[in-house]
């Protein structure tokens, strides 16, 4: 921590906190930390849902958030793209930095944030439109009108989401005619088309059968070279299979956060061990 101290001889143009921020940002860049959560708390009314969370997420890695239901893992995930704003009476403290920028501020550009931080939900939620229109949605609301470019990007995203072989010929068909697994991959393609940096996945396989789940997990693995993925799951095997890092949340507190291997083989905290060995949860 010493090297983060203030050197009054370097510059007088920056105030002390700004200077500390800059140094911290440089450190974060060096370590490829794309998301930094600092003393983040969230309250539903007066009830705390997240208590002073501190964690950093590495770029181009898969980070899993595990924990029993109601521990706040989805709430934490939805804090990264400010989806909690849709719920009335939510209050937050602390901050979340993405690419060094605090996203918890009042004047944060939510449109820009959500285009940078995409999301796949628990239940497949394609719009009742054609497959093509679903994928093109994110581009069209951003004003893209060039048909050739739309076609090209839609195909690219569907390929990335491993859905092109199945859906390439039926783009005009309603998305609701697809199977659950296909719908979830369509939702992934829909999120990918606007080229976010981070993809949040909120228990994306909880409504899927084992084969579709395996496909989705393979997909997550292949996507991490281009994207940073944060996945919430209640399925510990899934976390162990796909994630590089795992965070364990309990009653709104971050109990332990480490490399997945470490968490599952040699956890530091007794509560983590109890959870992953199935003693509760």
């Amino acid at each position: 921590m010493e090297d983060k101290g203030i050197n009054p001889w370097v510059s007088t143009e920056y105030s002390q906190p700004e200077y500390v921020r800059m140094i911290e940002n440089i450190h974060a860049l060096n370590e490829n930390l794309i998301v930094r959560v600092e003393d983040f708390s969230l309250f539903y009314g007066d009830k705390p849902a997240l208590k002073r969370i501190n964690l950093s997420i590495k770029k181009n890695r898969v980070t899993a958030i595990i924990g029993p239901s109601g521990c706040g893992k989805s709430t934490l995930l939805r804090a990264f793209n400010r989806m909690n704003d849709l719920i009335p009476n939510v209050r937050i403290e602390g901050r979340i930095l993405i690419d060094g920028e605090d996203i918890c501020k009042k004047d944060t550009d939510l449109v820009a944030l959500r285009r940078k931080v995409g999301m796949v939900f628990q239940k497949p939620n394609p719009f009742p439109m054609s497959i093509y229109e679903n994928v093109a949605f994110g581009l069209k609301i951003a004003g893209e009108k060039d048909r050739a470019r739309l076609d090209q990007l839609v195909e690219k995203s569907l390929r990335q989401a491993a859905l092109w072989d199945e859906a390439g010929d039926i783009l005009d068909r309603s998305a609701l005619t697809l199977s659950g697994g296909q719908q979830q991959r369509l939702c992934l393609a829909r999120a990918l088309v606007i080229e976010p940096e981070i993809i949040l996945m909120d228990e994306p396989a909880s409504a899927l059968d084992p084969i579709s789940t395996a496909k989705l997990e393979a997909l997550i693995y292949s996507l991490k070279k281009d994207y940073t993925i944060v996945i919430v799951t209640h399925n510990m095997q899934q976390a162990a299979r796909v994630a590089d890092y795992t965070a364990f949340l309990l009653l709104g507190e971050l109990v332990e956060y480490d490399e997945t291997r470490k968490i599952f083989t040699n956890p530091t905290d007794k509560r983590t061990e109890d959870y992953i060995t199935g003693r509760f949860g």
Partner: protein
């Protein structure tokens, strides 16, 4: 107790039967007496000989014209109010509840009151103001189709507001979330995700109010409907003939009751078929919407 059970089942069934009997009796009488009158001439000609002969074309034309202008007034206001209540109003706040209560009460106001309100507000206040501002002799400050349509629109506002609000609220939260997560603003979310899904519901409300508007007489009685017109109205500032009012006129003001009666039944039959067709269309739409979106 078993005897009572049986009795109650029988009694309630009988009530339904009686209601249906009345309905079919009405339809039967009208159809039997009116069917003979229906002809090409009846649809295309104007009433002649003190309305004892000829057709009802001006009344059909006036009704359609009236209902079209009413829709132009009604839908933008009604749908926007529905959007406000469903999307923007703070849910469960006192003010929102007061607005909802007001909308419900508006639906309970007798239609003749709307008619008188139309005279007072539209013709004497808005119309006179318009004439004075534009420097016109009596154009807007008299009963005419424009104000009759506006009065009907107010009468039908509660229907459209409620059906729009319900149709908008029925769009699942997951779809809204998905749109927001893709960087949609609230406006884009509403325009691109909510309204397309709510469209059939909103249209259902529109058709129901059109079918109701076509049959209401009291609100247009003083605001623009004419007893008899020797010409077809061209401008919204003209007076007009209307089917419902024409029925009233034929049944009470005719110089020769026996000669008018077939015309009367024919007119009733046309009005009945028109509203029936509109209602059936609305129900069909709603069924289609339920099937499409699974609700």
């Amino acid at each position: 107790m078993k005897g009572w059970d049986k009795f109650f089942a029988l009694a309630s069934g009988l009530c339904v039967l009686i209601i249906f009997a009345f309905l079919f009796w009405i339809i039967f009488i009208i159809a039997r007496n009116g069917a003979g009158t229906i002809s090409w001439e009846f649809f295309t000609a104007a009433p002649v000989e003190g309305m004892t002969e000829g057709g009802i074309f001006p009344a059909i034309y006036g009704t359609v014209f009236l209902v079209l202008v009413m829709t132009v007034f009604l839908m933008p206001f009604g749908v926007m109010a529905g959007i406000y209540l469903a999307e923007y109003a703070p849910q469960n706040s006192r003010l929102t509840q007061a607005i909802r209560l007001a909308v419900n009460n508006l639906a309970g106001v007798p239609s003749i009151v709307f008619g008188l309100f139309g005279v007072g507000f539209f013709i004497q206040y808005a119309g006179r103001g318009l004439d004075r501002t534009l420097g016109l002799e009596t154009v807007f400050s008299q009963p005419c189709l424009l104000w009759a349509a506006a009065t009907l629109a107010i009468l039908n506002l509660p229907v459209v507001i409620k059906t729009s609000e319900e149709a908008i609220k029925a769009v699942p939260l997951e779809h809204r979330e998905a749109a927001f997560a893709l960087g949609a603003t609230k406006l884009k979310m509403i325009v691109r995700v909510v309204l397309p899904q709510a469209f059939s519901g909103i249209l259902t409300g529109a058709i129901l109010s059109v079918s109701r508007g076509a049959g209401e007489v009291a609100p247009i009685l003083f605001t623009g409907a004419a007893y008899y017109l020797p010409y077809i109205p061209k401008l919204p500032t003209d007076q007009f003939m209307e089917l419902g009012y024409h029925i009233f006129v034929l049944s009470t003001q005719s110089p020769d009751v026996d000669k008018t009666q077939p015309l009367l039944y024919g007119t009733i039959l046309v009005l009945l078929l028109l509203t029936l067709a509109l209602n059936t269309f609305a129900i069909g739409l709603r069924v289609r919407m339920r099937r499409k979106y699974g609700r």
